[in-house]
Symmetry: C2
Subunit: 342 residues, 2 copies
């Protein structure tokens, strides 16, 4: 058996409650006994038992992380390593631990969340993604359980604390950037419309197009799981239009990489024949050839701030709902140029 508070108490000749107070750094305790107790702890190599503490104090000092479906290809995205880093560092500041739940199906994930929450394993939850219709968000709201979403909640935006980029604005910026370069035929290549981020970026794209007085072409809007072979048809479809686009707004770097490859196979040069701008600016953006012009959304900060906000929420339930917008910047590299008007 491990050494407990009682062992320490015995050695220090005090009551267990006194030891507990020393641990909690209770001010109403004499320097002398504090020192005595600390010495005993050191001697015995005492370490507090989190489980017992959690049970007694009804708080775990742990944050639950909800990942997207592990079956989903987005799970492979370096995005998650990076948010995780931010999340972890944010939690670390306040000495919170990280508890994870994943699952293959939505059902599995939901069960995992229920277990974490009702099982009292965590004090709060962070959703690492935002879907259009999300049972989990409703569930947490109903139970009034502290949670934060990374991304924009689809419903009840005003009532859910979330950390997000202004994806609408970012997409608009990006599209205007292409327009300024002289492009008029700009296509949008996005992921699943079930993800709020895709919706936002699509809307921003459309807004920019409209504001520029360009007519929206339905065929220019494509949604695909764009990795590997899958994306090929979509791109070929785009190129077989009578007026094929001269530029692409791609919703994710990994997708953009797939697009780049497809274009390469077709024999189109980037940026000469086609401009591409994408989002997230993960590590491979700068490692692709040509290096991707991409929107840096500061993924690390997304995670860091999410942890911070959740902890605030946990420690002060009256904390007002917050919406934290992490800034973004276009990182210009080599995939955008003026259109080839040949």
């Amino acid at each position: 058996m491990a050494v407990t508070i009682k062992d320490v108490a015995k050695l220090a000749n005090v009551a267990p409650s006194t030891v507990s107070r020393v641990i909690a750094n209770n001010p109403r305790i004499s320097e002398k006994t504090k020192k005595k107790v600390k010495e005993a702890m050191r001697q015995l190599g005492y370490h507090p038992n989190f489980i017992a503490r959690s049970l007694a104090s009804q708080s775990t000092q742990a944050i639950g992380l909800v990942m997207p479906s592990s079956a989903d290809i987005v799970f492979q995205n370096p995005f998650f390593s990076t948010v995780l880093r931010g999340l972890s560092e944010g939690a670390h500041v306040k000495h919170y631990a990280l508890h994870m739940t994943t699952g293959k199906t939505d059902e599995e994930i939901f069960d995992g969340v229920m277990q974490m929450v009702q099982g009292g394993r965590v004090d709060g939850v962070i959703l690492l993604y935002s879907k259009v219709e999300d049972k989990i968000q409703s569930y947490l709201r109903e139970r009034n359980f502290p949670f934060v979403v990374i991304g924009k909640p689809f419903k009840n935006v005003e009532e859910i604390t979330h950390v997000d980029n202004d994806n609408f604005r970012a997409a608009k910026d990006v599209t205007e950037y292409l327009i300024k370069l002289g492009h008029q035929q700009i296509a949008f290549v996005g992921g699943s419309l079930n993800m709020v981020v895709t919706v936002e970026r699509l809307l921003g794209y459309e807004k920019a197009i409209r504001e520029a007085g360009i007519t929206l072409v339905n065929e220019y809007i494509v949604h695909e799981q764009f990795l590997r072979e899958g994306g090929q048809e979509a791109i070929r479809g785009l190129l077989s239009l009578e007026r094929p686009p001269t530029a692409l707004v791609v919703s994710d770097d990994l997708m953009a990489l797939g697009v780049l490859n497809t274009l390469n196979e077709i024999g189109l040069a980037v940026p000469e024949d086609m401009s591409i701008i994408s989002f997230n600016n993960v590590i491979i953006a700068e490692m692709s050839r040509p290096p991707l012009t991409s929107v840096d959304i500061n993924i690390f900060d997304l995670g860091f701030e999410a942890s911070r906000s959740l902890i605030q929420l946990i420690e002060n339930p009256k904390e007002p709902v917050k919406r934290i917008i992490i800034p973004h910047q276009i990182v210009e590299r080599s995939t955008c140029a003026a259109p080839n008007l040949g």
Copy 2:
């Protein structure tokens, strides 16, 4: 307050212990009361409290995950998303939860492990990497705490359950593959020698070289954090030798991508002027141009088996030490060819 075992007991007109037995699926209980209790649980929406259960049963049903330093660039490697998936699915089978600890420095990470372990937050620990001198491994061994390492332990291999590839063999295979293609000047580009995996791969490479009767050239062995600009000098150094290599064994896909870019800038064609073969076969291996010939090490299985083994170890402390070797396969793509003997 949440609904507890007592509430259920009251409603079902039984003792709390009876409810507890129903939960535990104790066979010594009549079908009738079991049904009655289950109905009461359903009616009240009862969920067992994991914390209380953990305290009483001295087991948490949670696995602790130790990641490498989040400051480290390897953290960004898609490798981790994939092991995580495997780990998660393996744990899920036996209803274990995942608890994470990360940190920027080795010190932080070590503290995190101590807290997890001594704080009783987890029943066992999985190390997601293997370093040459690792305080954490010694610590866990001393305390006789169940743990599994993904990779090969540097010390006490016979006494630590681990899940690994035969990296020595894989590197040997790969080198022989290049030799068979006709290469005689083969360089090795690896990561930090503090990682056991690097050491193993280097040894395999050397073995193959020697067995083929080729003399080992010290200048052909390079260790670098090869991402981004950093790798350039190393590659340029290699190329400025009087007899530059015609092929490269690169210890990681991401590194290989960096190498590919550098070669591209220098104006060397792959595989015509230089063959490259790398390890891990993460998603970007097939998305690079040209697509990388890479060793698939079945990352998912690495994680899956690690979870399984740890759980076995936890549930049966007498479980013998195991060494699980996950098979590997060379996936031929487009970065290897016969040397250009021009």
